[in-house]
Symmetry: C2
């Protein structure tokens, strides 16, 4: 079992690193060279659909609102994001994507979908269900672990 644990672990680490490296290089060789991988994830967290507030996006990304404000300043300057003050509560800022931002969002989303698709097309129904089960189990463990930790 220890051998298997070791092996699963190193696959996970390697997958993790590969995904980041590929995302980074894909961006750098696209028309969106001015976007870093962190900025890409910020764009992803802002999302295409209902506008999110600064606080909501910061929480989703696990950074402080100050950090997000700085990052959004850059993304606004580069033309990917727009800020709109809420009319209901003038303290609140709603973030959403520009046309260019939405284009990049879809590009990134497609990479993720292709990645998973290519993986599960090599599997039958039953196997992909087991993969899902494994991921759910891993996810459950991590959520429980997070609970137990101090903030």
């Amino acid at each position: 079992m220890d051998r298997q644990v070791q092996q699963i672990n190193s696959y996970l680490v390697s997958i993790f690193n590969d995904v980041l490296a590929i995302e980074e290089r894909t961006l750098q060789s696209s028309q969106f060279k001015d976007v870093s991988i962190k900025e890409m994830h910020t764009i992803d967290a802002i999302g295409m659909y209902e506008p999110n507030t600064t606080s909501e996006v910061a929480k989703k990304l696990g950074v402080t609102v100050g950090t997000l404000t700085v990052s959004v300043n850059n993304l606004v300057r580069k033309g990917y994001v727009i800020r709109v003050r809420s009319d209901v509560d003038r303290r609140v800022v709603k973030l959403s994507l520009t046309k260019k931002g939405r284009l990049l969002y879809r590009l990134h989303d497609k990479f993720h979908r292709d990645m998973v698709k290519e993986t599960i097309t090599e599997m039958n129904e039953e196997e992909s269900a087991v993969l899902m089960k494994g991921l759910i189990s891993l996810h459950g463990f991590l959520e429980r672990t997070k609970e137990r930790l101090p903030d």
Copy 2:
């Protein structure tokens, strides 16, 4: 299928974020508060066993040698890493861990092993084999994708 792709994808993203967040918080509430998560991964890449050169570790981490030099400067100052010039080729620097560095390495390694162990103990032999197969497949796709990309 698209529903499933979406779901697997969001589990993967969530797992990645959780692992990072947990590693970060575990470090901050341990005796190793002066080590960031990036530094932790550098320590992990240097490893416990044969000493690695600066170039080798930089490649493993996917950063430039310049970046690694800076990071190693800090880790040496904090007492986790030692630099030894090779006697065979005086240009080469071998990196290895101090006693404190090895202690931290083992702590981090244990977190990773526990994470995987807890996941696969909920599965039978066959299921964990399928999980492994899924990971191998995903890994294969990523390696092929990396090949196709420009550097």
